[in-house]
């Protein structure tokens, strides 16, 4: 983990209520796709956890949805503004696992970390495909970016306004070697039930610290209690214990 200042390079909408922010700063602490940063917002006590969509030396990208006051405020941040970030948080996905033809299953703002993952899977010579789910066509983002990488992407919208009508689980192909998924918990549960292979699932929790100090984000697993911010956010399918 590293605490450091980043400077906003770009902050623009990519879909309805969804924004992409590119930040310049020290990315040395980021070691895996699916890790997150914790963003300090002036005048708000808790930091906001946001997944790293992509990163390279000296620059990272996040994609955030306007949910409450904090993320709404972020849309007003101009280029040049500095932000205090904790980086390198969480375990992230392990792209080395799971055969040559993994499927990436993303829902809403669960899609961004899968983009960074797709890049790294491709770099390992694997052939990932993506299934991306959204509520409606106006909220769709990044399908083109996945395809531009060379990762085919199938879309599903709940209202049928674009792609397959329904949920990501309605658009899964038959044959895949493994899965990686991130999205709302209801979607993760549906994916867990529908998928026949092993896989990695990325979870969300309200966080007090984001780096393992407060026990605010704990969950039960078959191998004991884990902190979503530290031993997560990515859990293996086999270790998951659902709350209800």
């Amino acid at each position: 983990m590293l605490q450091s200042l980043f400077e906003i390079r770009e902050n623009e909408p990519v879909a309805r209520d969804v924004w992409r922010m590119t930040l310049a700063g020290d990315t040395a602490a980021i070691t895996a796709p699916g890790q997150f940063v914790n963003v300090r917002l002036e005048g708000r006590f808790l930091r906001r956890p946001i997944s790293v969509c992509d990163w390279r030396e000296g620059e990272l990208t996040i994609i955030y949805k306007v949910l409450g006051a904090g993320t709404a405020e972020m849309t007003g941040f101009p280029a040049g503004k500095t932000l205090d970030l904790l980086t390198g948080l969480g375990n992230g996905f392990d792209p080395s696992e799971g055969g040559d033809a993994p499927i990436l299953i993303g829902g809403g703002v669960g899609v961004p970390p899968l983009y960074g993952l797709a890049k790294r899977l491709l770099a390992l010579g694997k052939k990932p495909r993506a299934v991306l789910g959204f509520n409606t066509a106006a909220e769709v983002f990044y399908a083109g970016e996945f395809r531009a990488l060379g990762c085919p992407a199938v879309l599903a919208t709940a209202d049928g306004s674009l792609g397959v009508r329904g949920f990501v689980t309605d658009a899964l192909p038959e044959d895949y070697s493994y899965f990686f998924t991130c999205g709302p918990e209801a979607m993760l549960k549906a994916v867990y039930r529908k998928t026949k292979t092993s896989g990695q699932l990325s979870f969300e929790r309200r966080m007090g610290c984001g780096f393992g100090a407060c026990m605010g984000c704990s969950c039960k697993t078959v191998t004991g209690f884990k902190r979503i911010c530290r031993e997560g956010p990515v859990l293996r399918k086999e270790e998951i214990v659902w709350d209800d």
Partner: protein, 301 residues
């Protein structure tokens, strides 16, 4: 004796800054970030006789200038703390640590304290009396002077190390609880624990916390905490450790002026992992501003 040194129940501290229980784990998350030997000491995560998962999530909510938590004392249980956490801590922390203990019956408190008392690394037992008494009314021990005193007597009979009783602010008259603990043999007091609070999510119309209610801490509670430290420190002869919303060197000085002997810092560690280190480094400059030569001048020792 350095400019910042103080004494707490006969044990010397290089400085009065102590990360508060539940916000510093068992130390090593922070030891990866900085040398935690710069601290006066720290109070480790509230430890109970048996392992606990704690409450369901969400367990964290935001507040104006603060946060709510309903973690519910997640910890591996005293035996694992002794066999796994303390040996790891020994490698990165070379000072006496404050062992924070919780219980749900007098026997729980006594047994957990007796086990930790034997550990050489433990300098003080900080006994959190904010927990519900499962054999009694279900009310927290710390809301009733007689119940709080019974915990103190049970723990004092079981342990030799100094016992610091951590008081809950969720009472009408904290002074009467403080005095009852002093009379029962407490060596010190620490306060405040979190203030019972609640948030509702407008989108779902439901409480944010799965537990409905949780404890408020952070800068929002500072003036309330300061007032309670002031009232308590005037009423008792044993040392008082002040906490609640402390987030700067100036806040530390204010707590000491209110009568605290040392200061614990909780929520600030969660939003700024370097908070305690920064506060310790800022203390001498802040003291210069107000013509304070040594902290012992403020605390009387």
């Amino acid at each position: 004796m350095g400019r910042l040194s103080v004494t707490l129940c006969g044990v010397g501290l290089d400085n009065p800054v102590i990360p508060a229980s539940g916000t510093f784990g068992y130390g090593y998350e922070f030891a990866e970030l900085y040398d935690i030997n710069v601290l006066g000491t720290f109070s480790f995560k509230g430890t109970t006789l048996e392992e606990r998962f704690g409450n369901p999530t969400p367990r964290i909510a935001e507040a104006p200038a603060g946060m709510l938590n309903s973690v519910g004392l997640q910890n591996p249980g005293v035996e694992k703390v002794i066999s796994e956490e303390l040996p790891k801590l020994r490698k990165c922390f070379h000072k006496p640590v404050m062992a924070n203990v919780s219980g749900f019956s007098l026997e729980d408190y006594a047994r957990t304290c007796a086990l930790l008392d034997r550990e050489e690394q433990v300098g003080w037992l900080e006994v959190n009396v904010s927990c519900p008494n499962v054999h009694g009314s279900g009310m927290s021990f710390g809301t009733d002077p007689a119940a709080a005193a019974s915990v103190v007597r049970a723990v004092k009979a079981a342990a030799k190390k100094p016992v610091i009783v951590k008081l809950t602010p969720n009472v009408t008259d904290i002074v009467s609880v403080a005095k009852a603990c002093e009379d029962a043999g407490a060596d010190g007091l620490s306060l405040i624990n979190t203030i019972l609070a609640m948030r509702i999510d407008l989108r779902t119309r439901k409480p944010v916390l799965a537990n409905t209610m949780g404890g408020l801490s952070g800068p929002a509670v500072f003036p309330v905490a300061l007032r309670m430290v002031y009232q308590t420190a005037r009423a008792v002869k044993i040392p008082v450790v002040g906490m609640g919303g402390v987030s700067s060197a100036a806040d530390v000085l204010e707590m000491l002026m209110a009568g605290a002997r040392a200061v614990e810092i909780g929520a600030a560690n969660l939003t700024d992992p370097y908070a305690c280190k920064r506060i310790i480094e800022a203390l001498p400059g802040e003291m210069d501003k107000y013509g304070i030569g040594t902290l012992a001048e403020l605390t009387g020792g």
